[in-house]
Symmetry: C2
Subunit: 229 residues, 2 copies
DNA sequence: GATTTATATAGTACAAAGTACGATAATGAT
DNA sequence: ATCATTATCGTACTTTGTACTATATAAATC
């Protein structure tokens, strides 16, 4: 009954983080406790604290491991497609880890992958001819849209999972909410995942709008040296 | 030392919720514990459970009380200005209650104020001539942008509050992040709250884009009867 | 006014979770 | 073979939500 002590190299910081991700993915954020994580790793709770100062720091690392998954835009690529791909990647990854946004919101120390992502996006904008000010606007607007959309994806999904359609109908009272009823109807009969199309549509809008913020000098016609640092 | 029992009408559900909001506003979400709330209300912890089944339900009510604060678009107003005002209101209210987004994310039962808000927005879109499908796109895109922007507002502010500029500079390593350095510089020297302008800019973009989704029939020229249910 | 009933407030106590502190065992160094 | 280092772990304390039960107060009835 008394398990022998785990071998000396059972753990690494990496394994702790990966285990935490697995637990959160499989059983949700509220199931990610130090004790559960220890069990999952075949180890006793206090062993984890050799690799992580406290749970907050574990969550910091967890969030940054999600940022690592985002597609990094290539500085020499075409800005519009690079940003579009990064945006799609962010939405995909975030919806695959529905717990991620909740943790991101409470982080106060941006991790290296997060910072690298910012740098890469800003570099793309810079090379595309955005001034610092234009880039500030463009990035804030695009990120707001992308993370906001992912937020809605996640919230919608969690409602669907936790609350049955019948339960919802009861709570909503369709007599007083005819438009909402229409909309629900529309979504029920819509194709597989109707928000995918909506996301693309809004992404085009955002990129179109952002494009207008560029300096009107067509930087692509300039010699690349003049554009470089 | 032993306080006498609190008088019989010390509490109401309303007072519990208002007290919870005050606590969260003043000391943050993590300070909102049942015990702290009880002290704040001059009452013992278990008394709260006479008005609220559990803490989850309290959070449900808390979130819905925030939705109540959002400006309700007027069905007979001009769609663009109504939606713009609602959007500004959402951002303002959410940034005034930085804890709200975190709770919203984990709710699975939309409250009445939430539903009424949806209904009002959809009604405005309907009267403006949006088909159900167009309204679905428009609403999802606009909400993604607005909540996403508020999310960034909140995250940025919490980083600023919890992490000193010096601390940040140390963690960021500006040698490897020149663009990020430029951007930080720009924000430091920018006017009072530079994101306000960015929000308005993106809002115009979103509303412009959404406008293109309308049916091209100019519904405003139709007799209102033909447009009514 | 006295008695009964309903209910709002509260006391006690337990479980779950983070983690401080110190012990112990496994590895490498001398 | 001894020692130093350090990865793993046991114990125990604190904080939090809250189940269960008790009690006091207001309302209702006689």
């Amino acid at each position: 009954m008394t398990t022998p002590r785990a071998p000396r190299n059972s753990l690494t910081r990496e394994r702790v983080i990966v285990g935490a991700r697995a637990l959160a993915d499989a059983r949700g954020l509220e199931a990610l406790t130090i004790r559960a994580l220890a069990t999952h790793l075949g180890v006793k709770p206090m062993s984890i604290y050799h690799y992580v100062a406290n749970k907050e720091q574990l969550l910091d690392a967890l969030v940054d491991s999600v940022f690592e998954e985002f597609h990094l835009p290539q500085p020499d690529g075409e800005w519009r497609s690079e940003l579009a791909n990064r945006s799609r990647s962010v939405r995909d990854v975030v919806t695959q880890h529905p717990w991620a946004l909740a943790i991101m919101e409470t982080r106060t120390h941006p991790g290296p992958a997060n910072l690298n992502g910012h740098e890469a996006v800003l570099e793309v904008l810079h090379r595309a001819g955005f001034t610092v000010e234009a880039a500030a606007h463009a990035y804030a607007i695009l990120d707001a849209y992308v993370f906001g959309f992912a937020l809605q994806d996640v919230m919608l999904r969690s409602i669907q999972l936790d609350t049955s359609a019948a339960e919802l109908r009861e709570e909503i009272d369709l007599r007083n909410h005819p438009r909402l009823g229409e909309m629900a109807e529309f979504y029920v009969h819509a194709s597989s995942y109707p928000l995918d199309g909506t996301f693309e549509l809004g992404l085009e809008l955002a990129l179109d709008g952002i494009g207008q913020l560029r300096t009107h000098i067509d930087t692509e016609s300039l010699p690349s040296k003049a554009d470089a640092e």
